[in-house]
Structures are given as structure tokens and as C-alpha cells.
Symmetry: C2
Subunit: 319 residues, 2 copies
């Protein structure tokens, strides 16, 4: 086998230094982790599948590793949680070059280091087709303090971090055959999960509900409304649209409304709460308000109202 | 899409009732779980990939779901842990019949119920090729009490639960074209993870080291020796070989030595400890002893010694 599992595990094991939360990491039947006293455990799992979430000819391997972990960290961020450890299940085709695997792991571990977590375990297998990763992130939050999707109440304001639509617009350029340089599209190739922002919002009891924008504003805001039993109004002119590449032009509004994989946070806060304009250097923008009912309504630039239906970001299978 | 993700999630969500450990299950960015006071968290992840771990023409879908969860529960058992919740990441080909998915989930949830855990989350995606599942099981054990692979000491005795080689022998029959009826091969199609045995060994401080036999005796005992820095001697005549199907003949010794997926426990215990002959109705058999050095030696029926090399069970890719 060109990719012996044992060698891969040994390589990851060497690259990993156990953090305080990890009592036993790779090399036993289970990892053993310490959850801080008075905290609850947070667990999230996310696939990164070749042909669905990434393409090897479009995304450098270290960016694929980075994005793989971002998917998990962003879910921890959306609860206001603190990440403790990651677990990587990796199925690789026999023909995959060793260098690709090394770069994938390097990208993933670099982001892990930035968030002071390490790989505590996982699984490896030979893939019958493309490369497939499943990332698990374990985190924690003080008991009863994690921020749910279900806490939005009529009268709350709706906020987003950063800008929206950048990832979808960049993906569209790739679909159109453009070759993108990762350096010019950092939020697309190396999205930064908003862990510090989520933690700040939880520590300051600012957010009543929160979700990450991995599936796009229209879909993810609908999740908050569904779980909270409320409706929402969004002012289209307030939505912070991304600029991408070297252009200073804002991306098309449809990317910002429906494009996924920005890994920003969408949250609600009671209208009396003072939400800072920036948290941890990240722009916070008010885009609308929670209302009674079930509908998400978009108010366009002429003040006209129409229902905003979740378009359900489906990665590459969308088109 | 014939398999809309939302419908699948809704179906699983309906089938799942949250247990005490799960504060928030499916339907938020993360699951929130309560780890019992004074306990550490145990985490294990395992792939079940079509063509590698199962074949749809060989294994009924409920057995595939059952075996998928067994892989995780067996790892919890091997630490002496208590399972708390499972997470399922499931990527399915577009063409897969709905009935297959329902049966898969049914088999998995039936075993979950037996162990008083439920599905607390996961991910779904469309698979570019075969069906792929990644199971995560979260468990716990009292602080410092989980049983590691690394605790075996010279003089300890080596034990196994149940019988070995049954799964590999059944698989060999399928390879040879025989059609097996699941009812006649229960340990192969529906292996029972030894959670109660592992818990008993931990509670009675009997085991110094433990692992599950998912990769076969030769490979898994080598793991214990490697992590413990010891060698081992195994008496071939003591190894409890399985009988399978309607036959009362014991399987070939090579299946018992090298065959994987029996999901039994291999453990060591100081020679002064009194290990019961049965725990929770499961046969416990002494098969050898831990010695100084690094080698695993097999003592054959004529008393001759030869090194037992780990053959590294590779599921279907072995041949």
C-alpha cells in the first residue's frame, strides 16, 4: 500500500502535541478528554468530500485541510463555545500522492494550532473513490450558557459578522474557469472561524440565538426562525456584501443572500443590548429584526417586501 | 433529490429520543452533552465504507447500521467506558433506495437503544460513490479509571472474551460465494459490543490493559505490547475458536489469530487477580501471559515457539 494507515497515523501523531484538555490522544481505543469543571461538552461533525465540498484541481491541499477543520470550529463558534480537540476520519484513494496528504494535514494542523487545539484521534481508511474527511470537534461551554438557534424573540435585532457572499462568488469564478490565487481570496481558501466573536457574545450575554453561515444567510436565518418559532425581516441594503480578489466591487446580492461557506456568524440580540460594531477586529452589522410569525421577509432598496425563501446551499451539487 | 438531507435528518430526529446525557441533540450547530461529574470524556470515531467494511449485496442494511455503531461502542467497551451518545455522518449515493436508508438507521438505532444511548447529531451529504458512514461515540469513565492499552506488565495474564475468528470465517464463506443467512451467523452480522464486560473489568479494577479485537488478535495484541513496552506469549491451544453457522466445528486457527471484526475484548490482568470465567454471560478465556521484551510468541500444540506477527486485518482490501 502506498499509503499505509500506520504510517499516516504515526505522522499525525508526531505532528500533534497533546494539549491540557487531552489526557490520552491518538494511540488508544478512545481519546480521553477533560471537560472543564462546570462546563458541558459540545460536539459537531462535518464531512468534507471530494467533488462535493472541494475539488483537488481547484483547492490546494492545505486549504482543503484548513476548510475541513473550519467547518467544525465554526459550529463551536456558533454556540459561543471553546474548542478543546479535533478528530479526523480520513479515507484516501490509493493513488493519492503522499505530498497531498502531508499538505492537507499541515493546513489542518496550522489552523488547529491557531485555536490552541490538537488532533486527539480519528480513523483512516482507503477510499474506494475520492478523498473524504469527516471532522469532529469537541468543545465546551459553561453549563446552560451555550447559545442555541432557538432563543430568538420578536423585537430582537439580527446581526452578521464580517461580510457575506465572498465564498460563493469565488466558487462561481472557478466554475466559470477562472484560476484563483489563494492569496487574493483568503476568506474563500482559508476561512477564519469566528470562535473569538462567538465566545465574546456568550461571555457578555449579548446573543439570544446564533448559527454559522455555512449554508448561506437565507437558509441559516430560516433555521433560527424555525427553531425559535419566529419570523424575520432583513433589510437588503444593510447586508454587508463581500468584495473579493483585487476588485473593490461588492459581490452580487444573491451570493450574499444564498451563498454558503462564508463561515460567518448570524446572531440575534435583544434590542436593548449594545452590540459593538467590531468584536475581535471583526465587523458586526445589524441587518434586520426578528418579528412574530414564521416568514423571513426581505425589504428591498425600494422598501418593497418579499418573502426570502431558503435556497439551501448544496455546495457543488447545487448546479 | 430522492434523498433530501432535510427529510433524512427529520426522520432520524423523530426516531431519536434524547437521553439524560443529551441536553441538546440534533437541530443546533453542536450537540450539548452532560459528562457525569468526576468523569472524563471518551471519544472514538470509525468509518464504515461500502466496498471496504461492507457490501450491499452481502450485508442487509440493518446489519450494516448495527455493525457501524458496534465499531464505536466496542472502542468505548475497550476503555471500560459508559457510552453516552452517538453521532452519525452519512454520505449516500443519490440512487440508494429510501428503504435501504430506513433499514440502516433502524439497525443502528436498535443497538443504540440496547445500550441506552441515542443519536445526538451528525452530518449528511450526497456521496459521489458508495455509501459511507462515520460513527462517533462519546462516552465517559471516572477520572483516571479508563483502561488503556499501555498498562500491561510482565507477569500479567492475557484474556479474551467470547470466541475469535467467527467473523473472518463467515466473510471467507461469502468470498467463496456462499449465501449466509444472518440468523445463523449472529455474531458476524450483528456483533454485540462487550460494553458490560468492559465496565465490569473497570469497576472491579481487574484489567491492566485492554483493546477490542476489531483488527484481529495478532494485530491488537501487538498494539497492547507496543504501547506497554512488553512482549507476550500465547498458547495456541487455549485460544477460543468460534464455531459458525450450523457447524459445531471450530474455525481454522488462522481466522482466530488474524481475523478482524469479532469485536471481542483482549485484556491483561495481574496474575493475582481473580478473573471470573464468565462476565455478563460472556465467556472469559486465559490465552497467555505478558513477558519482558517486545516479541509476541505463539506456543503451538507441540510446545514449539514461533513469533506471531501482526497480519493487520484490512477488511476487504486484505486480498
Amino acid at each position: 500500500m502506498p499509503l499505509p494507515e500506520k504510517a499516516l497515523i504515526a505522522r499525525i501523531r508526531r505532528a500533534v502535541r497533546n494539549k491540557a484538555a487531552i489526557i490520552t490522544g491518538i494511540g488508544d481505543d478512545c481519546a480521553i478528554l477533560r471537560i472543564p469543571t462546570g462546563h458541558e461538552a459540545l460536539v459537531t461533525t462535518d464531512f468534507s468530500l471530494e467533488g462535493i465540498h472541494f475539488r483537488r484541481d481547484w483547492h490546494p491541499p492545505d486549504a482543503i485541510g484548513h476548510r475541513c477543520l473550519t467547518r467544525g470550529l465554526s459550529d463551536i463558534a456558533a454556540m459561543g463555545g471553546i474548542p478543546l480537540a479535533a478528530f479526523l476520519s480520513l479515507a484516501l484513494p490509493e493513488t493519492l500522492p503522499q505530498k497531498w496528504v502531508d499538505e492537507f494535514v499541515r493546513g489542518l494542523l496550522r489552523l488547529a494550532k491557531q485555536h490552541d487545539i490538537s488532533l486527539a484521534g480519528g480513523d483512516t481508511a482507503q477510499s474506494p473513490s475520492g478523498a473524504m474527511a469527516d471532522i469532529v470537534v469537541l468543545g465546551s461551554a459553561p453549563r446552560g450558557k451555550a447559545i442555541h438557534r432557538s432563543g430568538a424573540r420578536p423585537g430582537d435585532k439580527i446581526y452578521v459578522t464580517g461580510t457575506l457572499g465572498g465564498a460563493a462568488a469565488a466558487l462561481e469564478m472557478q466554475r466559470a474557469g477562472k484560476k484563483l490565487h489563494p492569496r487574493n481570496f483568503p476568506r474563500y481558501f482559508y476561512p477564519e472561524p469566528r470562535v473569538a466573536v462567538g465566545k465574546y457574545l456568550r461571555e457578555h450575554s449579548l446573543a439570544s440565538a446564533m448559527i454559522d453561515s455555512s449554508d448561506g444567510l437565507s437558509t441559516d436565518l430560516a433555521h433560527i426562525c424555525e427553531e425559535s418559532g419566529v419570523g424575520a425581516e432583513v433589510d437588503v441594503k444593510l447586508i454587508p456584501r463581500a468584495t473579493i480578489g483585487k476588485s473593490s466591487r461588492r459581490v452580487d446580492i444573491n451570493f450574499a443572500l444564498h451563498g454558503g461557506e462564508d463561515y460567518e456568524l448570524i446572531f440575534t440580540a435583544p434590542h436593548k443590548k449594545k452590540v459593538p460594531a467590531k468584536i475581535d477586529g471583526v465587523l458586526i452589522t445589524e441587518i434586520g429584526r426578528i418579528v412574530k410569525g414564521k416568514k423571513v421577509v426581505l425589504i428591498d432598496t425600494r422598501g418593497e417586501r418579499k418573502e426570502l425563501n431558503p435556497e439551501g446551499w448544496e455546495h457543488f451539487s447545487r448546479k
